[in-house]
Symmetry: D4
Subunit: 232 residues, 8 copies
């Protein structure tokens, strides 16, 4: 294997500019705990290299800092995504169903949706369809069954993933959330539920990892749609 | 409060013969690790006092020991219940629905059913109705909805309890089982699922505790049927 | 089974307006992390549909927001319950004993009591009767024994549930609380105690889940009182 | 949604014969703890219905029992898969790379490979390519990069999944194994590693769940190959 | 401080023959996993040095090995204590109450009692007095209150220690046991209960550590009785 | 047993005024989360009944509230003890050695010392004698060996208790503290260390429970000094 | 062994002034939770004794306090190290490679580097070389392979240590960090990864313990360079 | 970096024959769960390549299998090491002190010693020097202080590492063992103790990992002795 030896030294950070060639996805920014000046430098470098930047878990202060230099940057209060979109909009492809058990899971779901769209796929929202009122889910199954891949986002006991797994033909990417209290132990309960699912076709990402679910569901959607050349 | 000071010293054990008056339920026997001679002594003492004995988690060797002195004793290989039934059969009352997610949960369910029947209530079995094929559950809901209380028994991720909780008007007693492997951690995953359920009307007993679920569901069934004088 | 397909789409949320018919209980509001405008919208929709609203774990700011539009709303600082009571008071039925081990468990107990009363049952308080001074509990047992169901609320080591389980004929719903420090691990210790209780007739809800205990104890109390038509 | 109400009552079990229509995959058998007679009954029923049967985690005794009635059954000592293949062989489609960190992970990998093949996809083996001698992995990357989906199987610290995630464009399904000792805690360490991976495009199934990884990777492979009609 | 530099090299082991002078207690033997020949060598060395030997958790095979050379050795099947008593019997001093919640806790209690007696104190047994039938405990409180120190031994939820702590003036040494199943997690539940006790005057030793409880309760009893010169 | 039925109803709280007769120790106040007015009411009631009050974990605001009504109240910033001492000073008895591993453990140690003194015993401080510089401990052993009981307070890995246990004749009460970071998990590491100690004569109280260690060490010291009538 | 009995009593603290002779390293200061006055006293005492002081995890307020009296003190915002360097600079010896997986691990790495330099060794930084873009690491391996010892610092899944372990001849000191979220559980995931590493030559220090890694890697570097007389 | 692309495909296994050049250590064999034929094939291949083989955790059956073909193979019952030594003995270098807390830790220690010797360094044994009788350790400190690196092996609470860390100038490699019972949780308690050590210069390997400790201590010893060309 020839390793693509492409990255840029940005002070201490090594911006992985070869990542898009290697993995089909550009480098993104995980904003928490990055200092203002340093964050801005990364946004600038990435914008310069690729013409668009996608950052997750930004706070509103960070959004202001970036917007000063990039007035076109968009910040979404719910998902905490801070992005500079490419000048030319790409047509989104395929169909990814993003489902949540409750309304409290929506911030994670929106991070997932924004990720999917940034990476060029189409996401459809099915929110608040948890198993405590399971008819709400059933009323949406015809639509959900049109997707190439389903994202199931749930906190507390996380049973949504298992129910979905038994009802669809396509892979289910399960996202446990930290929604809950007491013995939910910050999402551990939902994580264990999803990992132990009696239903087939389920695999799991980290607690609250809407970005990760968006990434892998995009990979699957691209495979299904035979378009693996994003933004190019 | 006047405490009913009635128990019998049986060597080191203190047989709680006043329990029936105090709690409405006779003393039962937890068989594991009890030595042959000692187990037999307890069965004799309880039979003498109350005319019937109920033991849980007996092994087949213990069954043989007891059957030598009590040929009428019945041992059930699945539930591991070893009982000497009362001479006169009582009519069973009410309606308790005992549901399992899979077939591997049946031993726990049968311990529950046997307990319910010994304590004088009627149990109906709904086995293998787990959420990975949820239509199996729905096909039984009309029957399940006739119960005064529902017992939901499930291992792995234990999602059955949450789904049932959203579909019935009566209390759901959830029993996590140790069925599963890997991250099920001997039933911990199912226990957390059930404790964190997003559905209402669910409370939880110990892992594999079919007896405990049978006991409390009998209490609830008696309350509903207004017959709290069992075997008297 | 025919699933009652009744809910209202409220932006992303799907208000489960069919829940009362399906489960015998109206939809309630879990207030934490709900944004002001959105919370108010839910209170309005539910008030419009059912003429009363019950919300748990509201903070005082949320109380003010709701009170601006609903001056008749009542907010209780201890239980954090924020409710709009129905115009016509229903007569409360039955008897539920709500017991706490210490005074620090009272907020959870008050959430439980308020839930019981909102759902139409009668609650009696037995607070600060923990096992470190067990005579306090015994002095109340005559009264506690009049209940159809007992709620045992305790943090730290949570031994109250086991002691109560050995003294009453009716089901005990155990609520572990996060009261304690060090190795109480946010209520885990009390949860394990209650799940492992050597006494019979105990089942357990989530840590600090006063609402959940109120719900299931109401179900049991209704069964005992043969009045399952609340507010209708 | 119309739920396909098709299952057969086999004593207590409810064989989900409608599963293939609903999910695209036939019912399979999880053999552990199933009694001889009962196991045979399930194999017969499934063979009758679908003309082939796939069972996981069978022991050699169970293999003998089934082979008496089905001499054509094949039992694999390594993967513990016990199957009756369809009379007519289907051509396998696509490309799934199944990688293991060490040789001790091979039983899990073989369960995965057998599952993939039974469900009609092509699997390629890349065994013993763990990160402690990372050049072994690199020497295989050209081949691995031809796959539609990669399965990464590893115990101990489970770092293989992260390294693969950074080197491929397609989804990585990570399988933690219970290989290891001491602080591997039966696979918990590898599970946490994989869930927390710093690389993108990774999602995780249960510890030792080769079958589950085979199932979801087949789903993804089918999507990529546009052939979702297996065995029909 | 002058450290007493007295021990004997016995192959690899360093027999702490100075321990009695330093701590007031002779060296004892923890038998598990010690090979026959090596175990015998230790018994011989200690017998030679001190004229008596006390071993815990011996199995019956080990008992036979030792009895061949020391026919006067006594082996107790319940406590698994294997001891060679001193030729001259010492009069036992003081009063230690050893209480168990159930009969399954008795092996741990007997290890404790045997330890107490070997170290020269008097133990009184109060077995099967757990909180599920709390009147059994109350009937013994007059006797228990005569002790200088109380040992509370309980598995499952371990509530006995808390109740005792609220009823006595003297220290309670709590011993969690591994009795139980499911969420008792091998004694962890009882350990957490006891460490978190709301009652005062309780401290805790390791799970199933009857020997350790016997040791520290002997220390306390000696302090109370002003006789710290054992066997001399 | 006759249970001393003496307590006072203070709104919801039941002040256990009979506790001193029953256990030899007066009721004390655990201040956290008690509201101002309610805290003051308790201090007043206890002062009225017993002429002195001892409260733990008070914050400085609570100290001010109490001092307004009781100018003689003393608040110690380090231990967070807020007490109203009895008018007449009692002579302290016996000898309790309170040892800490580091200086960060001192707040817990001071809570312990203040408790010991309030309950009438003499405490001697041996601070910062942890095992990383073990000569500091040895230089104090002559003094420590004069005590009737030793309290060993340590966070991080908590090894101090084991070392002390091997060097003294009297009981060691071990207090794990939450001092540390990372894998100390809030004191869990030190708790496990102390519970698993290879040294004898050690028993353990809850993490950071200086009060509990002071209480039980006072009980032991009283037994040794034959003066169990405190303040009477 | 003759224990070097040298320490200074500083109020409660016992400054271990003999440590340098005993262990080859001077005493350092762990700043968190130390009160201003007390911290200053320690800095003064140590400066007086050894002419330089090294403190870790200082906050900026503490830096100001110390700088008032010691204007030459240096405070580093990233590593939180607050030091007074010796008047005469020592030449640094050897070669220690300090590697991080990401940029968020840099504060821990800088604490490590500062520690190494204070103790007289030479550190080289290799930051942001984590396994998700493994070519970044490979591009540095020629340089890393010049070190006597390698420090591998990583959060999330911590796979960097395993990869490094397979590529170098010298010991790898692994430092898990609390970088991550969800199932990283504050560094537990990375800790388990590193402890379970399939690669050889890896040992692990506490989560975020840059100081500890600096200390032990200095010991190893000194051994390699045959210069164990630091600052003397 | 140029990766040394040298390994041999042995069926599924990839024997890392380039490892010695890359890391300075030959490949070794982890025997558990390897089937007879396969194990023998590996021993043959390695013997052929390097003239000597070292296997850990072999059982006696595996020893017999290997001895049939290699009568010169040596099997040690205590350490479970099964090795074929090189024809020409190498002179061992340096000094590594291997210490255990108790005698039950010796199997782990012997695996460590055998590893050290196979890799060409000199090990000295200091067994049964645990902290419960700390004078045994002190009597050995003069000898221990001659080592280039110290291995501290302990189960139960694992305090030995901390005490050693405060007494030596060289690195301490700590090995937690699974020796203990109850709350030792299979070595978790000792692992946490060692990771959280208050002493400096300690790093930790996996539970029971005598081989790993032998490996890294050899690396350190070689650095100190400047002889990194083993067996060449």
């Amino acid at each position: 294997m020839s390793i693509i030896n492409t990255f840029e030294n940005l002070d201490v950070a090594k911006i992985d500019t070869g990542r898009k060639d290697r993995t089909g996805f550009p480098e993104v920014v995980f904003c928490p705990q990055k200092e203002d000046e340093y964050l801005l430098k990364i946004y600038k470098k990435l914008y310069e290299t690729q013409g668009h930047v996608f950052g997750t878990r930004a706070n509103s202060h960070q959004a202001q800092i970036v917007k000063k230099d990039f007035p076109q940057a968009e910040y979404d209060e719910v998902s905490k995504v801070l992005q500079i979109l490419p000048a030319k909009k790409t047509e989104l492809i395929g169909n990814i169903a993003v489902c949540t058990a409750g309304t409290a899971d929506i911030p994670v779901a929106e991070e997932c949706v924004k990720t999917i769209e940034y990476f060029g796929s189409k996401a459809f929202r099915f929110y608040d369809v948890g198993v405590s009122g399971i008819h709400r889910l059933f009323s949406q199954m015809n639509e959900i069954n049109k997707a190439n891949v389903v994202v199931a986002i749930a906190g507390m006991e996380g049973a949504l993933a298992s129910v979905l797994g038994g009802l669809v033909k396509v892979p289910v990417i399960a996202v446990p959330t930290s929604v809950g209290y007491g013995a939910s132990f910050g999402g551990l309960s939902a994580l264990l539920t999803m990992v132990n699912s009696c239903a087939n076709g389920i695999s799991v990402v980290n607690i609250d990892n809407g970005y990760g679910a968006g990434y892998i569901s995009t990979q699957i959607n691209r495979l299904a749609e035979k378009k693996d050349m994003f933004c190019s």
